[in-house]
């Protein structure tokens, strides 16, 4: 039996490719130079000794997000709209790999996990109605604005200009979140249990349970896994490597495993992955300075874990992570001809802004986003990560079903 396979299109090399490559190399050089500088100065006054490492971890994430399309918006859209679950496996694998790594790190620090010694630096947050509401708002905001917060960060260099109003909306949303924090905290969060699955059960049972759930989800999602298109016989030469690295989407399993490993590294050396801390902290500092809010926030400043906003004067390691994501995404998107300015209108900018407000508000009340709470939370064996994730999936499912993303940006999708 002969199978008809579509031949790969010749890539060729144009003048534009030369320009793109030069820019990409320059961006990469800036990134590495910055890391070298931070390393040489020990990050003095610029986030401390972990600044260089977190910049590079951010760069790794930027590359993986861009090349593996590790984007919660895209993955959920594929799932709910195109009935294609392939991207979901990257997320499941990253949670699985991260879970094991986190458990190893936990076990060296806390031999006997109980509810009294929950690791305070991991993102284990109270499970309350507020978390569900935050997840629903976040999921809806993601559908409307065309990406989650991490997604906007890496898609902006790809030319997704709606990310600009969306990120502006995120800042506004954080502001609204701070103003409504007192009510949400005293109404729902105060006294809610911060359930850590390892507490009282040991790491083995908790990890096995999570891996079991992940496998279960993986089996369930097979129903929506479309047939794989074959490719013809080929020699791995320079052109093929170029195609695989810069043009073809990286395999979900590789992307997921690599994200999981970076998450472990980040937690081991510095703090759990998350992309909102620097942004929300800057928002808060600005608002405090403008006198729009008090310097002290009950609950938030005392004991809650997550991508919590502090009053900061300078860039933190979290800021370097974001810089790394944005620059590296640009550097790898360019050689693959993936930087294209997308159609942007006044209307779809406005909806992106509105969606961004929902994202920001949800991330503030939920103490993080898809990366900080969903990914870093589940990896840390926190029930909050699962609850937030479930709320996002429900909201995203409904949003895509009703075509909110198309209504918000007609003609784009």
């Amino acid at each position: 039996m002969t199978v008809q396979v579509r031949a790969d299109r010749e890539l060729g090399w144009t003048r534009a490719d030369t320009v793109r490559t030069v820019i990409a190399v320059a961006v990469a050089a800036v990134l590495l130079g910055l890391a070298g500088y931070l390393s040489a100065t020990d990050g003095e006054g610029l986030g401390g000794s972990n600044a260089a490492l977190m910049l590079l971890i951010g760069a790794g994430l930027g590359i993986l997000f861009e090349r593996g399309r590790y984007c919660f918006f895209c993955v959920f859209r594929d799932l709910f709209e195109k009935r294609d679950s392939r991207g979901m496996y990257a997320i499941l694998v990253s949670i699985g790999v991260g879970t094991i790594g986190y458990a190893v790190i936990f076990s060296t620090r806390i031999p006997t996990p109980t509810a009294d010694n929950v690791p305070t630096d991991a993102h284990i947050a109270p499970v309350s109605l507020a978390l569900v509401i935050a997840g629903l708002a976040f999921g809806l905001g993601m559908v409307i604005s065309g990406g989650c917060i991490a997604g906007h960060l890496y898609r902006l260099p790809e030319g997704h200009l709606r990310s600009i109003p969306a990120l502006a909306g995120v800042v506004l949303g954080f502001g609204l979140g701070f103003l409504s924090w007192d009510a949400m905290y005293s109404g729902f969060i105060l006294g809610a249990p911060a359930t850590w699955l390892a507490a009282g059960n040991g790491y083995v049972l908790a990890v096995l349970l999570q891996l079991g759930v992940l496998v279960g989800l993986g089996v369930l999602l097979l129903r929506w896994n479309p047939p794989v298109q074959g490719r013809g016989d080929r020699v791995v030469d320079a052109a093929e490597v170029r195609r695989l690295v810069f043009f073809k989407r990286w395999p979900a399993l590789f992307t997921g495993a690599a994200v999981g490993i970076l998450a472990i590294l980040a937690y081991y050396k510095d703090q759990p992955l998350g992309v909102t801390q620097q942004i929300s902290s800057m928002t808060r500092t600005g608002m405090t300075e403008a006198g729009w809010m008090d310097g002290f926030m009950p609950g938030l400043d005392e004991r809650l874990a997550g991508c919590v906003a502090m009053v900061v004067d300078t860039i933190t390691t979290n800021g370097w992570l974001i810089v790394g994501i944005v620059l590296a995404s640009l550097a790898v998107a360019l050689p693959g001809r993936r930087v294209r300015v997308e159609k942007t209108t006044a209307f779809n900018s406005l909806t992106a802004l509105g969606g961004g407000v929902l994202l920001g508000w949800g991330a503030m009340i939920g103490l993080g986003c898809t990366i900080g709470v969903l990914l870093s939370g589940t990896q840390a064996l926190a029930l909050s990560g699962w609850v937030f994730g479930a709320a996002i999936v429900v909201a995203a499912g409904l949003g895509f079903r009703f075509g909110l993303h198309r209504k918000a940006a007609p003609g784009v999708f």
Binding site: T114, N117, P193, W196, N201, L208, L209, G216, G218, V311
Partner: protein, 403 residues
């Protein structure tokens, strides 16, 4: 989970086998759900207990190690000599201990403060997180700056400068025998209150705090700040030896703690101990954040047995930063269990916030109050002294609480 599996699975499912598959899937899902329910219930059940526990349950769990066993005992509390005398509280208590920002603004309108017998001093902590303008950038007109950590403490020793050195400092600031010293600072006057206590220690009689401090002046009233640093004529103040009626040392506190420890941590001694740190620190759930307060850490967490916990924030108005009315302050401490018939010793971590409470209790209410300036950074690092911990577990260096 691998791609091979997934492509195979999505191929063409045969309807006949689906019944068996469904059964397996149902069993697997049920097992998973059951385990999940068990794990969540297990971890949550524990957790509820720990978050509600904490406050007043185990008065002095670990306070039994006081050394009442048989055989020889060794004395661990060091007997360092600190010169001083007991002069009572007459020169300490002040008629009007608080100056309002309005009053200060009027004095500034009138002209040079030193001609009116007033010395205005800024004593601030200048944490980078502070929203207030540091002295070096701008300050209240005619204010001079006193750096608490260098100017009135001795180098390389945990003690204040000598009386002679204090005379020198005070004269250089323009303090005379009849001067009114007005102190203010950031962070709700913590370090200004600390300075006021030190100034009283050395016999400066008329020391007042600017109520609300720099916060009230700069942010609430939005009054003017200037860059100009004043020069003032030297004063003629002569310092007296430290007034040890204002200052408690560890041996004295240890006696009280031992009495309370024998009564299972109840406050039975005829001296009130007031711990003004946060409830979590008092309970022994947390230590200090070494990133911010390097050098203030303690090896053991908890509180001195029998001390009552009234966090300093409870006695100031949140918006203006001013002290609450005297009677409200009194009732807050009475509710917390302070018996105003007995003298009071206040402590915190290094003594500065305790000075804020000292100011309220001694200067505003007119009670007899000492500051135990060794505070938790001495007590929590001392060998053998009794410690009470409400967290129900070993906390600190030998606990499992991590950092």
């Amino acid at each position: 989970m691998s791609t091979d599996e997934s492509t195979a699975g999505a191929g063409a499912p045969t309807p006949r086998k689906s019944a068996g598959r469904t059964a397996i899937a149902v069993v697997a899902a049920a097992a998973l759900a059951g385990t999940a329910g068990f794990v969540v219930a297990n971890s949550t059940g524990d957790d509820a207990g720990s978050t509600t526990a904490g406050s007043d349950t185990a008065g002095s769990d670990s306070a039994e190690s006081g050394g009442t066993g048989s055989g020889d005992t060794a004395t661990t509390v060091v007997a360092a000599d600190i010169p001083g005398e007991h002069r009572g509280f007459d020169e300490v208590h002040t008629e009007e201990p608080l100056a309002t920002t309005d009053w200060l603004a009027e004095r500034l309108e009138e002209g040079e403060l030193h001609e009116q017998g007033i010395v205005l001093l800024d004593v601030s902590e200048n944490l980078p997180s502070s929203e207030l303008t540091p002295y070096a950038e701008a300050h209240i007109p005619q204010a001079q700056y006193v750096e608490w950590s260098e100017e009135f403490t001795a180098p390389n020793t945990r003690e204040f400068i000598s009386a002679e050195e204090f005379t020198e400092l005070a004269q250089s600031l323009g303090i005379g025998e009849d001067s009114t010293v007005v102190l203010y600072g950031d962070n709700n006057n913590w370090f200004a209150a600390y300075a006021s206590w030190v100034f009283n220690l050395y016999g400066v009689e008329d020391v007042v705090l600017l109520d609300g401090g720099l916060h009230k002046w700069e942010l609430y009233d939005e009054r003017e700040l200037v860059e100009e640093v004043p020069s003032v004529p030297a004063g003629n103040f002569e310092a007296k030896p430290q007034n040890h009626d204002l200052r408690a040392f560890q041996p004295e506190v240890l006696e009280i703690a031992e009495q309370n420890t024998e009564a299972d941590g109840d406050a039975v001694a005829a001296v009130n101990l007031v711990d003004i740190r946060s409830a979590e620190e008092h309970d022994g759930e947390v230590g200090v954040d070494p990133d911010i307060f390097q050098g203030e850490g303690a090896a053991v967490w908890g509180h001195i047995p029998g001390s009552v916990n009234v966090t300093w924030t409870q006695i100031v108005d949140e918006e203006t930063g001013e002290f609450l009315p005297a009677e409200e302050i009194r009732s807050i401490y009475e509710e917390a269990g302070v018996d105003f018939d007995d003298p009071i010793i206040a402590y915190c971590r290094i003594g500065e916030r305790a000075s804020h409470t000292w100011y309220a209790l001694s200067q505003i209410l007119g009670e007899e109050v000492k500051v135990y300036d060794g505070s938790w950074s001495e007590w929590g690092n001392s060998v053998g002294v009794p410690v009470a911990n409400n967290s129900g577990e070993r906390a600190g260096l030998w606990g499992q609480s991590g950092d």
